[in-house]
Symmetry: D2
Subunit: 342 residues, 4 copies
């Protein structure tokens, strides 16, 4: 069985990553690639690393005939995405990679994104796409909302601990280091090689990063009461990878046990032996997430560290994993490639 796939926003990094992954998928064929700003161009000119593939040229979204499409990935900017998805056929299966359907509460969306939501029906319908924790809902869904890449990383480290009640909910600090491709292909001065390489810095310090909306929503729902974490992202000179260093209060061994149990059957989440710390180098280009737990020298404190590739497990790999569920394909199909090292 081959499913016909469309990708909207194919001229960005997450779009290109979807194509890279689907190229080795046994049950998907890319039928349409939407990219308004580069419509009319071949993918070989927009992303020369894909030139060996037989791909349709980029077209405007209006040019796409969705009647023959089984599933559509939306890799568009937020705000654009909600408008586009509201206008798509109502029975089309959709995996959205934008921020538009991550927050269930319209007020939360407006608080973090600054504009009223323009597709409330779809927002209500959407299922949060953190596969390992919403697997059954995703299988039954039509529209899946991809998570924030930082939000995914932090949740892999912390969800089982919050659910199990093994850490202090009021003392969670999440110091995150992310690579540059998470910022997309936008032309910004601070993303230039000359500006970004050879140095690093914190940004959105003190609780202003939008992925906090997801942490608040998900952790509070898990705990059954409001939970607020401290979250500081840092931009480091690498292209792929997120490392979330979480400082928590709780018994380190119990924390490790909880994570080992929680992820025992998961194909993509690897809990390292107690005391080992993961590296983004070891998951690059793959759909794997490595999680490590170390005790601090101060009794009752632990450090939990999660690493994943923002473009793969944090975004396009997660999207494909969810698409597999939506289409009743083996969940791991197209996603078992090993990381690229060095």
């Amino acid at each position: 069985m081959i499913y016909n796939i469309a990708i909207l926003g194919a001229s960005g990094y997450t779009g290109a990553e979807l194509i890279r992954l689907i190229a080795n998928h046994s049950h998907m064929k890319i039928k349409a690639l939407g990219g308004n700003s580069k419509a009319g161009q071949s993918m070989a000119s927009v992303f020369p690393h894909l030139r060996h593939l037989d791909l349709p040229d980029l077209v405007t979204m209006e040019e796409i005939d969705f009647s023959g499409i089984d599933l559509c990935f939306c890799a568009l900017p937020h705000k654009t995405s909600q408008e586009v998805i509201a206008a798509l056929p109502k029975n089309l299966k959709i995996v959205d990679l934008s921020a538009d359907f991550r927050l269930r509460n319209p007020a939360d969306y407006e608080k973090w994104y600054g504009n009223a939501h323009a597709a409330l029906a779809q927002q209500e319908e959407a299922v949060y796409g953190l596969t390992e924790f919403y697997r059954e809902e995703i299988r039954a869904a039509r529209l899946v909302a991809g998570t924030g890449c930082n939000a995914a990383t932090g949740q892999y480290a912390l969800r089982p601990l919050i659910a199990a009640g093994v850490i202090d909910l009021d003392e969670i600090i999440l110091d995150l280091k992310c690579a540059v491709s998470g910022a997309g292909r936008a032309l910004k001065e601070n993303l230039l090689h000359a500006e970004l390489s050879e140095g690093y810095h914190a940004y959105a310090v003190g609780g202003t990063h939008r992925h906090l909306g997801e942490f608040d929503q998900e952790f509070s729902a898990l705990a059954g009461r409001p939970v607020q974490v401290q979250f500081t992202p840092h931009l480091v000179p690498a292209n792929r990878g997120i490392l979330a260093t979480c400082y928590v209060k709780g018994d380190a061994q119990a924390i490790h046990d909880t994570l080992k149990t929680a992820y025992a059957a998961e194909p993509f989440i690897e809990v390292l032996p107690f005391g080992e710390a993961p590296s983004t180098r070891h998951i690059r280009g793959s759909n794997f997430c490595h999680v490590g737990v170390c005790a601090d020298r101060i009794s009752g404190r632990a450090i939990v560290i999660a690493a994943l590739d923002n473009l793969t497990k944090g975004s396009s790999g997660q999207a494909l994993q969810n698409a597999n569920l939506l289409l009743d394909i083996e969940e791991t199909e197209g996603l078992m490639m090993a990381p690229l090292f060095p």
Copy 2:
């Protein structure tokens, strides 16, 4: 049909790259991993990016039972490789990644490598592993000698041109830029991040690099008379990739036509449209080689540029491609993954 595979030298980069590729191969199973200096260790500890795979631990070569092995990859240092291979079962299919069997003439080997060859019978038997040009010999071989990664890149740019007689054989300059993983995992001061990043330099300037032995052998055989090229490699701060910029005298359009024709049916060699230049970014982690041709402003001169990933098409990918031929498997099996960008 599943073939049982052994890899000797599995604790180096080309060994790890073989494992990465074979992990997605439908007809191979890794049965033994040799690595004397790290024998007894798990691959998860030596290469944590492979921890999701179910792999045998590293053992010494003496511990491997080759009776059940269908094909053995040797990713050992040169000189060691010839000694090991001479001692392996005489009917075992072998793909060697070292420099030991690339040169057919024992005197050439001694000239470039400084020691007499210790496995002359195997040297005579070995087939040069540049797949696209030795395909039939490789299919019939028992022992295939992987080419130098720089040597492969230069040959992809130049072989069809020399064979067709469309360039001046006495005026070939090959300015090559290579990434650091080609130097392996050896502990050398100049390979430290602090020494290597943020700068670049030429090395082995003026014709002392060992891969010249391969150029001399192959180009002279093709031309039917001695051919010597000028070859200067440069080390650049990236982990994967070789870019060979070749300055030749000949008609640029004829050169492009010759390459287009020569590689028309090749699954891994992509000749770019006339006037376009390739980038190592667009082949990273893949088995593809991109070749571009540009005319110079000086009439009768052209620039031919080839790009490939030294660890994949330049080494382990080539080795797997050859192993597929040796085992009568589809040549492209396990090798069609798209490059990783960004």
Copy 3:
């Protein structure tokens, strides 16, 4: 007035950095360069970036005549340093860059470094070299102990806050990101470009890093009671720079005011406007330290971030600043160069 200078350990990065700085110093002349493993070599061969300077060749320490030397920098590995310094003339002014004299208590030294101290008299005599906080003691000293580079960074962020009592002493978390040159020029697999670039990871997680000995000593002395911080360093793919992200409990505005006041007259410590975060890019190659303060969205919590160059302000620049004090030279002499960006 020109002072004669010797540098022991001149073949390492901190030695080379000292030479770079002293090259533009108006009152110092390098008379001897010690480097046992590379004795007999010219500095142009060991560090070609210094080839334009008229420098003495490297010699063994035994070959140096200290009678004409006014001040000696020791940039040797710890443990070696204490043995060497114990044997130097007792009236020679010394700035040590190793870890050997940072901890005042011999038991602390043994706890963190694993061996009994072999130069107890010098240990007792040594003054801790964090210039801004030990200025008068350094002026009067003979032997100054350079601080750890990570320890310096954390102390610039936290000392005034601990001294002023504006933060909770039991809830200090120091998440640190450091560049690779801090690990020196040693040949280690994890410092290779191919291993280190393009990724990042935490190490010495949970309170095992030796610079904790300095934090414990200094912060406890300041507070007048035991203070233990949580400290997790991360290695990031850059050559120079340390960024210390400190999570503290206290009023962010009061914290900013305290730091502004504390550093108002300091030539090298720049406190950024409230709410701004520093970047290692903006201090690279200089003796400056940038400190920023942001409020967290959770009331009563703040993030204090300090950035400096580990080789300059974190090590050799600090050493020269202290040497200026020892020799009664203007403290900023040779140290006012602007950072290198990009």
Copy 4:
């Protein structure tokens, strides 16, 4: 004596580099900083690495009172520069860093830059700013035209050889590798970190790069007959540095002798021992240029390699060196800082 300095285009990299250098200059004081697009901003906000300096805010060019200015650096884009300079006071000393006054022939300018020159009087008056070869003309000049950074590098390798007649003038190939800051702070997709890092490629292949205009002009003038070189630049993932690998026909030893003699008295040009090759790592952040010569294995052929920092010796350092001459200051003032390594 303190001279008052203005810098136009101070919000770009060459402007910032001028400020970095002048900060340590004993006889210059920056009085005005022009930057139309960022007028009204402080330099601390535009270039935080300069925040320790007491600098004027950026203003529009119209706001600058040139009556008190002794010398003006123009670090503006080409075409803008000629318009601005034509309107500046006719007796103001000017060092231009743009491409606008490098070519003496208006037709050459139009050929390479595509527009007619709008300041012909100034074009005629301008002196080409390759200090070592135009020293006396620069001393007597009012307006100095900074050279192209690639053009400077190639000329340091080749000028003495062409002048001395020791190489074949019709067989010069210049394969150049340049770092990204040479492209400036412009927002272009291919300059993003995610696009540029970890790979490399040739651009302007075959003789279309504008710096060829300078090579043609200068080399032909030196030789007394038309000389055309082949020139292919490559972009490599580093921020600073140009490496020019020149393939020439001639006697390698004579070539080395010629360069040694030519640069014997030059403070910034270091000719390496015969057979050694320079690295951009060893000149970063400095005004030095390293030149190496190696013989090729093919008799009568040699490789000459030059390395310099595009922002310093290739642009702003050169500009300051020329400004020193214009103002009758010691030529090396403010320029003797050692390179930054690592």
